[in-house]
């Protein structure tokens, strides 16, 4: 039989518990903010300058490449900060559950990446920077808004979102400093592999049943769908692993392997080349 509280203490308890939960979420969010405020500030400033001031970011490929670099960095930072600095034992000893930690950090990183990439794409598509500058400088020269196909913009946003989600999940589950460091690289490589996987799947399996004119659209849609599914699977698997993770301190990061640095230099170049190839057919 359920006990009924006549003095309202049951509802007071529930209210106190809800207040406590909100306080925990605020605490976790506040920690992420002060831990990553320089990353967030730098990313917002660079994107603002790139999109709105000097208008160097104007094409889906540029948004995609820079978005992926941002996503990989944010994925490692938000997903693996505590493992990298060796403070998971302390973090896990606090009353927040691992699920709360995972979800708050994911939400903040995901919001940063999507807000920057999505807002840049939207602003460029509607020509917002041009429109704004027109209020300040009346040069008589106006540029038409970028006319890239919507599919390319979707790909740019999806690439960034998938890279972040996969990097985040790997970094969150990593048991070593090197695991965290390589999560960004792994996330980007997996996103590229999924994209080309979708393209190849359609080209080799569905080529006979799809009209040739619809092929690029189906290929794009298949790749996006694959990336969306992989993003969900990575996040869900990452969540299940993270909530079972053991909180043991390890020595903090001290210097990185040279090969990791090389990968970081090579990946943007490879991405640029691949995007170039895709854009030129």
């Amino acid at each position: 039989m359920t006990a009924i509280s006549l003095d309202g203490s049951g509802s007071a308890d529930r209210s106190a518990a809800a207040t406590h939960q909100r306080s925990i979420i605020r605490g976790l969010a506040w920690r992420e903010w002060i831990a990553h405020r320089s990353l967030i500030g730098t990313a917002i400033t660079l994107w603002f300058i790139g999109v709105w001031v000097i208008e160097a970011i104007t094409a889906p490929a540029t948004v995609g490449v820079l978005g992926v670099v941002l996503a990989a960095g944010a994925g490692m930072a938000f997903g693996g900060e505590e493992a990298r600095e060796g403070s998971e034992e302390f973090a896990f000893s606090l009353p927040a559950t691992r699920a709360q930690r995972y979800l708050v950090r994911f939400a903040m990183g995901w919001a940063l990446v999507l807000a920057l990439v999505g807002s840049a794409a939207a602003a460029i598509v509607v020509g917002a920077p041009q429109w704004c500058w027109g209020w300040i400088v009346e040069s008589g020269l106006t540029a038409t808004p970028a006319s890239a196909p919507a599919g390319e913009w979707r790909a740019a946003v999806m690439f960034s979102a998938a890279s972040f989600a996969i990097s985040f999940a790997i970094a969150a589950c990593a048991g070593s400093v090197n695991g965290v460091r390589n999560a960004g690289t792994a996330g980007v490589l997996l996103a590229i592999a999924l994209w080309y996987g979708g393209q190849l799947l359609v080209a080799h399996v569905l080529i006979d049943v799809i009209p040739i004119t619809a092929l690029p659209m189906v290929q794009g849609a298949t790749s996006l769908a694959l990336m969306a599914v992989a993003t969900y699977i990575a996040l869900h698997a990452g969540f299940l692993i993270y909530v079972r993770k053991e909180g043991v301190s390890r020595p903090a990061a001290a210097g990185g392997g040279a090969w990791t640095l090389w990968l970081w230099l090579i990946i943007p170049l490879v991405l640029l080349i691949l995007f170039g190839l895709v854009m030129t057919g």
Partner: protein, 314 residues
């Protein structure tokens, strides 16, 4: 075991934990009554840290269970986890945060967070609250960790070597503060591990000895100190009488006609039988707690339960 009917604040039953096949905790049973101060001692690798981490829900037991107020903390909700605070042996606090930031961060997690106590301890321990924790000395970092645990006003404190690495003066000051804080936090239950017997003597009301992942014995500190003696019986002949043993002996050695033992003697009457043997000379020596501990822990033997793998120390 305590064997009391009091509700247990901490209860560990049949706990097993291995790291890559090496047993760190091997069937640990332990119970700390509410309001008790329990000291865990044992050699390096005895399993103390693993036991405390498992109680805290940081490690997942292979078998058995570790509960605080009847809840497995690894599965517990924040409300139950809020009742427990922890100071780790390794002190890997987020080094980029200042003490003030850490204090603010932790305040979000504990309903009963005592900001006034945190501020007071920062002042009394002369901690630079605005300095990054990574830039503080080892002793200061340890104080920061203890400060955070105390300011949480948790009902259970789990302290893994809280005074390790401190100089004697700093250690004494920290222990004094801890005793004072425990007196203020009426009813607070503490379990701590240490290698420093003086800390054990001053803080613990119960001492548990761990060896190879098990609790080998458990004693009330006061009883141990007052009843554990070194007893020496010298017989007139070349060898002691057949079947002779010192009553209550924990460890006993025989050299010729001299039998020496570390024994628990509730009173002198326990030796009446030995004294009654014709020609036998019975001597009883008092022991310091450190001597007792060394005797109880036993001779130095190779430890096969030591795990120091990837930062995991048993």
């Amino acid at each position: 075991m305590n064997g009391t009917a009091e509700p247990a604040a901490i209860s560990v039953e049949g706990l097993h934990k291995s790291f890559r096949g090496v047993r760190a905790v091997d069937g640990l049973d332990l119970r700390v009554a509410s309001g008790g101060v329990y000291g865990l001692v044992g050699r390096n690798g005895a399993g103390k840290t693993t036991a405390l981490r498992t109680i805290m829900g940081l490690l997942r037991p292979d078998r058995g269970r570790a509960q605080v107020f009847g809840v497995d903390l690894i599965r517990g909700r924040p409300a139950s986890r809020e009742r427990v605070a922890y100071v780790s042996q390794d002190l890997h606090l987020p080094g980029w945060m200042s003490t003030a930031e850490l204090s603010r961060y932790c305040s979000h997690f504990y309903c009963r967070w005592d900001a006034a106590l945190a501020t007071d301890l920062i002042r009394r321990w002369a901690i630079d609250a605005k300095r990054q924790v990574a830039l503080l000395s080892g002793g200061q970092r340890r104080r920061v960790a203890v400060l955070l645990a105390l300011a949480s006003r948790a009902e259970v404190l789990v302290l893994d070597e809280p005074a390790a690495g401190l100089d004697p003066i700093a250690r004494r000051a920290l222990i004094e503060e801890l005793i004072e804080a425990l007196a203020r936090q009426d009813g607070c239950t503490v379990i701590f591990s240490t290698h420093i017997i003086a800390d054990l003597e001053r803080l613990a009301d119960t001492i548990g000895l761990m060896d190879r992942g098990r609790l080998t014995s458990e004693h009330r500190t006061e009883d141990l100190r007052t009843t554990t003696k070194r007893v020496q019986v010298v017989f007139p002949g070349d060898v002691p009488p057949a079947g002779f043993s010192i009553p209550g002996a924990i460890r006993s050695t025989t050299a010729g006609a001299v039998v020496t033992a570390i024994a628990r003697l509730p009173d002198e009457q326990a030796l009446a039988q030995a004294r009654a043997i014709p020609g036998a000379r019975v001597q009883v020596f008092s022991l310091s707690l450190e001597d007792i501990m060394i005797e109880l822990i036993g001779p130095d033997v190779p430890q096969d339960a030591t795990v120091e793998d990837e930062g995991v120390e048993a």
